[in-house]
């Protein structure tokens, strides 16, 4: 049987887990290249003008990989009302009009249509591996995703505390390879352990006072650093710790939430008083997570959204009030192909600066006469 060539959209470090999964299913994987200026330019050229940034980047990615020879594209679907659920169909229409021949396979959420999901999985499994084998390979690669998330979170924690600027990012890039190269669950666990250990060797000042910034918004611009100009790294270097509300594994959230009953509020419940309706995308999550971050004593919030993303526009409108009522600074970026890194950095600098002043002021008030514990890093 001919070995089929397959590709998929680029999304953060997770591509390495997707690759492993598809290789185990007997495919030759055509790896999508990390999105660059060229990727976006290609996407902008062929995408509708008002499509959102993720749509353009993913289209650009396909346009870069399809000329290498691809039989199948596999991607995610969705049932709305967020537009992303229709992206695959429209990507297919546009790419086929451009003359490319391939098969688009869309994985719809299994909870909505379990039978359909099973059929798609069986279709993907063209070499007819046993269900047990598929289960094992999914389990193994899910473990890999977890490891990737854990190590990334460690880097987010360490970055604002590093003694030499850039040392965490440099080390992080290296140790990521341990996990990428690991295959079995045992190897992945060992790689994760080693990676964390290595990261911890980077000299840091744990007593340094850093501000904590929550990050909410639309999933693609949150998870794919090239779509947000590596905002997390920038924030880290400005001396702030980022807590991203979304990882591919919901697992992280369970591990970061304190056990107090008040804090066990779910994201949805937290959002309800302000936005009782599921509005598609991650609009309701953005609201809910904002409330949770406030309860957990965060210093500020950043919302990332593609330009014209309606769920995030609804969320932003409500976040303005939440910000006022709680005296909680919130900064929103609506990202499109016109967004520039320099402009974004300037706004971030001012924002983090404001958070630091606020925190210092609060601490001084709390410890009137007493000695401040730690020093605030102004970098």
């Amino acid at each position: 049987m001919k070995t089929l060539r397959i590709t998929f959209p680029y999304m953060g470090n997770y591509v390495h887990a997707f690759r492993g999964l598809l290789e185990d299913l007997g495919y030759e994987v055509v790896m999508p290249v990390k999105p660059s200026k060229r990727t976006l330019d290609l996407g902008v050229k062929y995408a509708p003008e008002f499509s959102c940034l993720p749509y353009k980047i993913v289209l650009g990615t396909y346009l870069e990989t399809l000329p290498k020879g691809v039989d199948r594209i596999v991607t995610s679907g969705g049932v709305g009302p967020c537009r992303a659920g229709l992206y695959a169909s429209l990507h297919e229409k546009i790419l086929k009009k451009l003359g490319y021949q391939f098969e688009m396979i869309v994985l719809e959420p299994p909870l909505v249509d379990l039978k359909g999901f099973y059929k798609t999985v069986q279709h993907l499994n063209y070499k007819n591996y046993s269900l047990w084998y598929i289960y094992k390979t999914i389990k193994r690669n899910w473990r890999k995703i977890k490891a990737l998330d854990t190590v990334e979170q460690k880097a987010l924690f360490l970055r604002p505390r590093e003694l030499t600027k850039g040392s965490v990012s440099a080390r992080y890039k290296e140790v990521l390879q341990y996990i990428i190269n690991a295959y079995s669950e045992k190897e992945i666990a060992e790689a994760e352990y080693e990676a964390l250990k290595e990261l911890e060797k980077v000299p840091v000042d744990l007593n340094r006072l850093v501000v904590k910034v929550g990050m909410v918004g639309e999933i693609y611009v949150l998870l794919e650093p090239s779509s947000n100009f590596e905002i997390e790294e920038t924030i880290g270097h400005l001396g702030a710790e980022v807590k991203r509300s979304m990882f591919l594994t919901g697992w992280t959230r369970d591990n970061t939430m304190p056990g107090k009953s008040e804090d066990l509020l779910s994201v949805k419940d937290a959002a309800k008083p302000y936005l009782p309706e599921l509005i598609g995308g991650h609009g309701q999550d953005s609201i809910g997570n904002a409330i949770l971050y406030i309860k957990q004593g965060f210093d500020g919030l950043i919302q990332l959204a593609p330009f014209t993303c309606i769920p995030e526009i609804v969320a932003r409108t409500i976040l303005t009030r939440i910000s006022q009522e709680n005296n909680f600074p919130i900064l929103t970026f609506f990202l499109d192909e016109q967004t520039g890194k320099a402009g974004m950095e300037t706004r971030l600098e001012a924002f983090i600066d404001l958070l630091k002043r606020k925190k210092l002021h609060k601490l001084e008030k709390a410890e009137k006469g007493g000695k401040l514990n730690g020093t605030l890093s102004w970098n």
């Binding site: 229409k93 009782p276 309706e277 609009g283 014209t308 526009i313 609804v314 409108t317």
Partner: protein, 330 residues
């Protein structure tokens, strides 16, 4: 006798207005409540909306904010129902789903908002139940609620029949004295877009009147009844679009494409920043192109000028006339 103390209910003359006002007018009339509409869109209303709404919001949201701002001091209640689903299949664009919340958290001096949720997919939020709930909340009996609901349905049906006949509700939805019909002409253009753009004569620079003057017959999405539209799958045979108004535009587009042999062209009227429309627009552009039907996208924003817009429409009509002439002479 008119009860002077009867509370007034404010309804914005945009978004859902052009689609569902007959139902709500029948409903509130039967309850004896007075509905007060915001005036037809003006420059002031639009400017106010642009000022009050988020800069990144789409034009229709800004427009809605402007209409609410013009109403809020004049009424006892603001009626902003959370319409999620009516046809059991598609939902409304996310902005409709978050509409009452957006308004609630943007203005400080608001009268109470009636934000009743309507979702015909679930029993407890269906239109009938929602109508009953609202009636009892306003202090009426359930029986009165049922009567109001029935009157609403009656008027809505009347309205949809008028639409199917070619009635165009320009700036005003009035089932008792319908006024606007498109001219009958062999020169037929489908003007597709959401009702709050197509029928709002300020926002679209009176493009409907322009067509009437030029003896062009206009076909709109609302003129194809739901029962007919249902048979036209609008997407690549795999999925329908999720949103009710988008589904309406796409399925009527498919209907016109296949059933009106003398269709001269298609114009898609869309608003700047409209989320769903980039999908709708590209599908129609590709499909119309395959059938060699002239296709024009008109995007409106708060800076669009009348001359610019109508010039493009004129050029489009000229192009079609030239094309028709050369086809005839061949």
């Amino acid at each position: 006798m008119v009860n002077m103390a009867a509370p007034t209910v404010g309804i914005a003359r945009t978004l859902n207005y052009y689609a569902y006002f007959p139902f709500w007018s029948g409903y509130f009339d039967t309850l004896g409540l007075k509905t007060i509409l915001s005036p037809p869109t003006t420059k002031e209303i639009l400017d106010q909306g642009v000022k009050d709404a988020l800069a990144e919001a789409c034009l229709p949201i800004k427009l809605f904010f402007g209409h609410i701002a013009s109403l809020k001091k004049k009424v006892d209640y603001l009626f902003i129902p959370r319409i999620v689903n009516l046809n059991k299949k598609t939902v409304y664009c996310p902005k409709f789903l978050g509409l009452p919340d957006m308004i609630k958290y943007s203005y400080d001096d608001l009268p109470p908002i009636i934000d009743i949720r309507v979702d015909n997919r679930t029993f407890h939020d269906g239109l009938l139940i929602a109508s009953l709930k609202l009636a009892t909340k306003l202090g009426f009996s359930k029986l009165k609620g049922v009567k109001a609901y029935q009157e609403g349905l009656k008027r809505q049906q009347l309205y949809e029949n008028l639409l199917a006949k070619g009635y165009l509700p320009i700036n005003e939805v009035n089932v008792k004295k319908p006024k606007h019909f498109s001219v009958k002409s062999p020169f037929k253009i489908a003007l597709l877009g959401y009702p709050y753009l197509v029928y709002d004569n300020y926002i679209n620079f009176k493009v409907l009147e322009f067509f009437n003057q030029n003896e062009v017959q206009i076909l709109t999405a609302e003129q194809v009844p739901l029962a007919v539209r249902k048979q036209y799958a609008p997407f690549t045979n795999k999925k329908r679009v999720f949103w009710t108004f988008s589904d309406r535009v796409l399925s009527s587009f498919q209907y016109y494409l296949k059933n009106v042999p003398d269709l001269k062209g298609i114009i898609h009227l869309t608003a700047f920043g409209c989320g769903p429309d980039f999908i709708v627009d590209r599908i129609m552009e590709i499909d119309a192109g395959e059938r060699q039907i002239p296709y024009l996208t008109l995007t409106i924003d708060e800076h669009t000028g009348e001359a610019g817009l109508l010039t493009r429409v004129e050029a489009f009509l000229d192009m079609i006339k030239r094309k028709t002439r050369s086809e005839v002479s061949q």
